[in-house]
């Protein structure tokens, strides 16, 4: 859980830590408080994490909600691979786990949780996936980082950090559960890389689209 200190100005190609472990912890706590405030409690909430890094984030938010409100909020995971609009642009991919809470999502308020909000296409796919597994009363969106460059009319309800980026930069989220440390890294724009929106992006660790 040790955060690597941000380097002031190494080569611009080296990824730079923009959020460390304590920043991420504070952001998630604030998101949890905002969820409670917006929904006047957390009675009918269900948190659905989008694999892979949305799932541990959803669990962390659920733990904070339990501290704040004293009730446990069900957590699930929702794989959106089969709903992506860029499947034909890259090799077929292995599926992630979809695991819905036993109570289902009908009539509840679903909070989708993802690490990075970028083009909005992942969330578009997630909304389609949600409507195939039930009919929630409302769907909200929580993201750790909003890096801008939307390609669809989609916005987040809860944002950990607004991070203005250029299209040539890359954002990577690392979480202790999967990467053995908590950090958000901003990669330099050295190479015109593949994560321009609309491109077949999202390789490597937790890069959202």
């Amino acid at each position: 859980m040790t955060a690597v200190p941000a380097r002031s100005s190494a080569s611009s190609d080296d990824p730079r830590v923009v959020l460390d472990a304590s920043d991420i912890a504070r952001a998630l706590t604030r998101i949890a408080h905002e969820i409670v405030e917006r929904n006047k409690g957390c009675a009918d909430l269900v948190l659905l994490g989008i694999p892979s890094r949305g799932v541990p984030l959803a669990h962390r938010i659920s733990a904070r909600l339990a501290e704040i409100e004293g009730t446990s909020v069900p957590v699930g995971s929702l794989d959106i691979t089969m709903y992506r609009d860029d499947l034909r642009l890259q090799p077929a991919r292995a599926l992630e786990v979809t695991d819905l809470p036993a109570q289902g999502i009908d009539g509840r308020v679903v909070v989708l949780v993802d690490d990075v909000l970028f083009s909005g296409r992942t969330i578009r796919a997630a909304l389609d996936a949600v409507s195939d597994v039930g009919r929630p009363r409302a769907v909200q969106l929580a993201v750790l980082v909003d890096r801008g460059h939307r390609e669809l009319p989609i916005r987040a309800d809860y944002v950990g950090k607004n991070l203005p980026t250029s299209l040539r930069e890359s954002v990577h989220v690392q979480l202790d559960e999967l990467d053995d440390r908590d950090a958000v890294l901003l990669g330099g724009g050295g190479t015109p890389d593949s994560d321009a929106p609309g491109d077949a992006a999202e390789v490597g660790s937790g890069e959202g689209s």
Binding site: E96, T98, V133
Partner: protein
């Protein structure tokens, strides 16, 4: 860049595990109110069946429809094939109609291979059973069923997904004419299982030395050691001679009756690819016993075929199958 699923011998252990793991996730949508995903919208799957089939054709059709593909069913009966149209001309017709996948069943071994390699059409070819050669999706669903039911008996590696390591599976009956047996010998051994073939000498292929399996002619001594017994259908339609003296004699020597059922270990599964000849290779009591997973095999078939269609078709290049010349 085309790739096909023609034989389980073309699948590496990683390929096979990817299919099984994908099928495991897809099996969950069978429990949902909406059993459909938009993944293959606008793609066309042609079921090209030159031989009668119930479960395989329906299973491929259900799999394709759950992924939102368009399905065209073509059976030789009632088509221009009965007027003498050749496989080539049929293939050219399908190509002109824009088929993305051709699922083919044919009485002649090698017909899917010919279809895939003859440059007649651009589509992916999936072998749904060719003569006495192979039936790869049946073997995949058998492996999937074995893994689901016997997970706690499988030697698990420290990392990666569970295969079938340490399991002992007996394949019993008409091995000579069985494409299911051939596909299973390749796949189950690739996945780490030990395979024993049990058959009368007349129904055992002549050259099994190169096969990754053991051969036995006595069923009773094998049964107490197996984790699953796979009974094969006696294929009367492919038998042009006398392979055994009488059905009663075959049933007495190689049929799974109540006495043999009691020889199996408590956890062992009874499998059959269907359709069953009740009273010949399997007694009604064995077919309907709690250890019979025949119905699960059919259910799992849809998930496995969805996984195959998804992995061959969804990406810019397929995730499984063997490389074509020029790929």
């Amino acid at each position: 860049m085309k790739r096909h699923l023609l034989s389980t011998a073309d699948l590496t252990r990683d390929d096979a595990l990817l299919v099984l793991d994908t099928a495991e996730e897809l099996a969950r949508i069978a429990d949902r109110p909406i059993k459909k995903m938009p993944t293959l919208r606008g793609r066309t799957v042609v079921n090209l069946f030159y031989e009668d089939s119930t479960r395989t054709r329906i299973s491929f059709e259900a799999a394709a429809k759950r992924l939102s593909a368009d399905v065209i069913n073509f059976s030789a009966k009632g088509s221009s094939v009965s007027k003498g149209e050749s496989l080539k001309d049929t293939a050219l017709t399908l190509a002109a109609m824009g088929a993305d996948v051709v699922v083919v069943r044919h009485p002649l071994s090698g017909a899917p291979h010919r279809l895939a390699h003859a440059d007649w059409l651009d589509a992916h070819v999936v072998n749904a059973g060719d003569g006495t050669h192979e039936h790869p999706t049946q073997a995949l669903l058998d492996a999937f069923t074995l893994r689901r039911h016997l997970r706690e008996r499988i030697d698990s590696p420290d990392a990666g997904s569970t295969a079938l390591d340490g399991l002992h599976v007996a394949i019993v009956g008409d091995v000579l004419h069985s494409r299911v047996a051939r596909s299973n010998v390749h796949l189950l051994s690739t996945l780490g299982a030990r395979v024993s073939l049990v058959a009368p000498p007349t129904l055992m292929p002549l050259h099994t030395e190169g096969w990754a399996s053991e051969v036995s002619y006595a069923l009773d001594s094998i049964l107490p050691t197996v984790d699953a017994v796979m009974m094969l259908r006696v294929q009367n339609e492919r038998m042009n001679g006398s392979f055994f003296p009488s059905a009663r004699e075959y049933s007495r020597r190689y049929g799974l009756d109540e006495r043999r059922l009691s020889l199996l270990p408590d956890h062992a599964l009874v499998m059959h690819p269907g359709p069953m000849n009740r009273g010949l290779e399997i007694s009604a009591r064995a077919a309907d016993s709690p250890r019979s997973v025949v119905v699960d095999q059919v259910r799992n078939g849809v998930s496995v075929r969805m996984a195959v269609l998804y992995l061959l078709l969804s990406g810019s290049e397929p995730a499984i199958g063997h490389e074509e010349v020029g790929a």
